[in-house]
Symmetry: C2
């Protein structure tokens, strides 16, 4: 509800689409372009998703996955000696671009090469790599990643499947002790997987050593299920029906036996005589170390969320540039040509609905780029310290939560912005919405992921605390003086940054800083983060000090932990965007101005959305709060003339947009 | 992020489920119960929706609709002499209850009996009633409601189809002048409709008289399309695939001719010699009068949105009472039994996610009840004044927007709150989400509907202004002094109410009123409404006075108009809830306390969500704002023990919940 602005309009910007695409594509422009050029050949899959019976569609998707595997685009992260591309960063870029196409294909690629292949690569050793990876990379051996169980979603440490070592035969006996301990929602399980990486409680000589992974065959060459293995189809799903999710139970009587060598033994092993050995002493830490190697899955889902948002925005913006609506005088007396209705995108409200989401999509794109870069560095051995690894895991978890929620929200808004036409399957939104829906809960439920981020923040990623569960975290924080908590956490360092960022010191937020100064935006985001973390620490401490049990304390502050984590990730996202723009040479002309505009819009609409909190905490007064609302509307008006260029720069292949009636088809 | 409260816990409430159901069922308890008892017989349709090929499923849905028609549950609003129930209110109650079942069935019922049958009833006269209604009510004659066109969604006045009177043959020639003027998204058109009520520009003796409706046959008895009629299938949709939506074109060369008597002539007619006659002089007003009679469709969609929210919340709350997660110490030292994880619903965050939505569902239920009552009174001739009718139309439009957005939001949150399991089709969310998605844009796009509400607010529903378009409205408002605008609108009266409501006068909001005083809540909601309306009026006036053209002015204040309209409807919803609770006898024990609790939670979480605005406008200080956040968390904790009863009271038939794994099945 911006009041009219009195600022003189700045000159109109123009977008060099190719230059902007190049900037978005970044380091892996070739990979991205290759995948984008590959995808139109499979555009018909989008239609098959609607028309084929489920079984047939699953086969179709499998065939496409194998064809894509044949091009090398699916396995860029595997070592070259097994047929991979030997470049982690490239594999993320390829996955992100594949997400412009059908998402069943994408997720099946993710299951086979990311989860299944990734587990063998990361948790296994040479013998497993030699035995499996070439076949995984080529697609000759399809597999699945059997972690989640019906009875335990996000709480993997508590899963029920057991692998008991039998020293007499040097085998592991894999059993599902109860119906609820069946593996569930496992992609590739219902039809195509011949083997599974199974996560189970490892039991050696009567002693439990926590969750470990081992390779367990599921089907023979003919596709028949092996003895002792029971598999059930998860049935139709909201979306992603080209992926054959299923449930797996292993005979509780012990029919399923695999050789000792099938244990993926990078972090722990069992010797032939039945001795458990591991370089990592703490069971919890061992578990989190194993899980940590699987972080690529979360980075990939986050990337897919950004791509899906780009597809939706491309359609909605182009629709709003075609569709006219109402309001111009039918008598021709109101400035417009007679009977000419106004373009949807010229309405302030429509701009408000689409442009902040467009700006945020850019922000999340660059945040993903930073994240993928860190992933690459850590997994390529460029950065090896423990803290970097912990921060990567935290950033991956938090970014995944934000990008996937953003996708859900953006796709919904874009679909509504296309009216009834958006409801037809031919217009892409049906599939985008249904297929991406699960992103918010798979590879870790978003709320659980943010709790993980919160825990990291409160313990400063200290490796000695990395294996703490939430209760351990509560006790840890409660055991320190609050000042110590603040010092041990990022908070203290952050606060210094804030003070430095504000021209007149921290007392001057209201007055001296320009609304479009990125230092002001960062100071606001940092303040929020710092304040929320400090608040959580104080509440945890007070709760425990007052005699409540840690579980109860945690339950009461849980939303506060999550708010702190979210504020933290929002700050990382904004920093990524600000740094990207700052790094552009000043002579890059409109390109820099355009990105500055988007960065301002993203930052300010974020502050606007949370202005209640900022006012409550003394960081906004009501005048400035209203000024921000006006500024956001102004920025939207400035985005209007370049909106088409901004979505064109995403370079979603035309054949994948579908929506001929909405966007004017191939014309 | 509530800080701990120091208030002593009040005694725990209990819910009498039967009594609460009776209260929710209200006047039409019998009708609702009948429908709820009818539905389980068709529970298999929910599964058929996933498993049947589209064509087969459409037939299945049609058969179910005809069977339901046979019970009388679908046509309660039609006059008894044609086989109906003769009770408008009952028809809404039945529709609302039908919405617990498959929504393709529901929407097909809506198309046949609400839209098609309703148009003949409301726009036609005795001759049409006699000719069609008995067959409509029995389902012998299936029809469709052909209003929307590809080129014009919400802007019906500008549609392109033409009906030209030919005095030589006493016929109307119905033509589609361009591809874009084809009727689109028309339910029942692709397969089952034998006739259509077609909305077309009426042309008599070379003169256009605006949009009118007439009955046009589409198919012969065998189902073959008639000469000059071209029908195309809209194809697969995001959801509601049991409804056969299609496009219709009428030969532009004039093959399609219908007798003069086919004009639905309640408000206008053409005499045999070709004279246009109508008691309503203004073409605009005639149009809005016709449209106004179709308000029942919006009331029905709103009701369905509330029901769908109830289904989703029932599943999510029951799931959260089954599912345990994390956090209790594995050493058993933290108060819980060893290894026992906490119930999801015991987490503060989970309560925050579900309970305000639960409370709002109650609020919207009672708002719908008031709306359905007004609809009944107006359409049963109990209240006949023009202003009541206008207010009904406005309330229907606004309530539909709020309930359908609420459904989208609630279903999404509930699905996420059920984790990955919520993604499986067997668990109802897939269908709920996909089927209800279109509710936000059909029967009028929600934003367009709120604009309509805003227009009514700004012109005080004055009948002489009811046919103004948005530009007329801008000019009208601009032509008055701002004080006059405020006086002419509800604003002035509202403001008096606000002052009366606050114990110490309007200066005392911060201090004297209790947070749980409904008068305080109402004062806040009323203030927001009044302030937003006044602000819009001033901006409209200032814009026009400064020489901008009305179209531009409107575009700039559009989001403000919509915010004002939304605030208005929010106030109506809250009033409906408050009045419902106030009307309960004080000796109704916990029932009244329970509803008070929900009403407080609804009201306060609404203020909390918009606290930035309230602070900006001097109606909250930061202390009180934080106190509200704490209070919301406290209220959630108080709802926790009665949550199961609150969803059980919705009485969604067990067989329709599906979700056996989520809620424990039939056990």
């Amino acid at each position: 509800m911006a009041e009219e602005s009195t600022v003189t309009a700045p000159p109109e910007l123009t977008v060099g689409v190719a230059a902007l695409t190049a900037l978005l594509d970044g380091r892996y422009a070739d990979v991205r372009r290759t995948v984008r050029e590959l995808l139109p050949a499979y555009a018909s899959v989008l239609e098959d998703a609607e028309t084929m019976p489920r079984d047939e569609f699953r086969e179709r998707v499998k065939d496409v996955v194998l064809e894509i595997a044949g091009t090398g685009a699916a396995a860029m992260g595997f070592p070259k000696e097994y047929g991979g591309g030997g470049d982690i960063g490239a594999s993320i870029a390829a996955f992100e671009s594949l997400a412009y196409g059908d998402l069943s294909v994408l997720v099946k690629v993710g299951v086979q090469f990311g989860l299944f292949g990734g587990a063998i690569l990361q948790l296994g050793t040479q013998r497993h790599h030699d035995a499996y990876l070439a076949d995984v990379v080529s697609g000759r051996l399809l597999g699945c990643f059997a972690m989640t169980e019906t009875g335990h979603g996000s709480n993997v440490q508590a899963l029920g499947t057991v692998a008991t070592y039998d020293p007499d035969t040097s085998e592991f006996v894999v059993t599902t002790p109860s119906e609820q301990a069946g593996k569930d929602y496992i992609g590739n399980a219902a039809k195509h997987a011949r083997v599974a990486v199974v996560f189970a409680q490892l039991e050696v000589a009567g002693e439990r050593h926590g969750v470990h992974a081992l390779v367990v065959p599921l089907r023979d060459e003919s596709g028949a299920t092996l003895p002792g293995v029971r598999i059930e189809d998860d049935g139709p799903k909201m979306g992603l029906n080209g992926v054959d999710n299923g449930r797996i139970w292993f005979d509780p009587d012990g029919t399923v036996r695999v050789p000792r060598e099938n244990l993926l033994n990078r972090f722990a092993d069992v010797t032939e005589d039945g001795t458990y050995v591991s370089d990592i002493e703490s069971a919890g830490r061992r578990f989190f170390t194993m899980l940590g190697t699987l972080v690529q899955g979360r980075v990939s889902v986050g990337a897919a969320g950004v791509s899906a948002s780009k597809s939706a925005l491309t359609i909605a913006v182009r629709y709003a540039l075609q569709r006219r609506q109402f309001e111009t005088g039918t008598d021709g007396a109101d400035g417009g040509p007679e009977g000419q209705e106004q373009l949807l995108l010229d309405y302030g409200l429509h701009q408000r609905r689409l442009f902040p989401r467009l700006a945020r999509t850019y922000a999340l794109h660059f945040a993903q780029e930073v994240l993928a870069g860190e992933l690459h560095d850590v997994f390529s051995g460029i950065r090896t310290d423990e803290e970097t690894r912990r921060q990567l895991e935290s950033r991956a978890a938090g970014t995944k939560a934000l990008t996937t929620w953003h996708a859900t929200d953006t796709i919904q808004e874009c679909r509504e912005a296309c009216g009834g036409a958006g409801y037809l399957a031919v217009n892409r939104f049906a599939a985008l919405k249904a297929d991406t829906d699960v992103f918010t809960t798979f590879e870790g439920d978003n709320h659980v992921l943010l709790q993980l981020v919160g825990k990291g923040l409160l313990t400063d990623y200290a490796s000695e605390f990395s294996d703490l569960d939430q209760l351990g975290m509560v006790r840890f924080v409660a055991g320190l003086a609050v000042d110590t908590v603040l010092e041990r956490t990022r908070v203290h360092r952050l606060f210094e940054q804030i003070r430095d960022a504000l021209p007149g010191g921290s007392d001057d937020w209201h007055t001296d800083s320009g609304l479009r100064d990125p230092n002001y935006h960062l100071a606001m985001y940092r303040f929020r983060e710092e304040h929320l973390i400090g608040g959580v620490a104080r509440r945890l401490k007070r709760g425990v000090d007052s005699g409540m049990n840690p579980g109860e304390v945690f339950s009461q502050v849980q939303d506060h932990v999550i708010a702190a984590a979210r504020a933290h990730v929002e700050r990382l996202v904004l920093e990524a965007f600000v740094e990207k723009v700052a790094a552009l040479p000043d002579d890059s002309g409109d390109l820099k101005l355009v990105l500055n505009l988007l960065c301002d819009l993203h930052a300010l609409s974020g502050i606007e959305a949370d202005r209640g909190w900022f006012i409550e905490h003394g960081r906004l007064n009501t005048q400035r709060s209203k000024a921000i609302t006006r500024e956001v509307a102004d920025l939207c008006r400035r985005v209007r003339p370049i909106a088409r260029g901004l979505v064109d720069a995403f370079a979603v292949p035309e054949a994948l947009l579908r929506a001929p009636a909405l966007i004017g088809g191939e014309a």
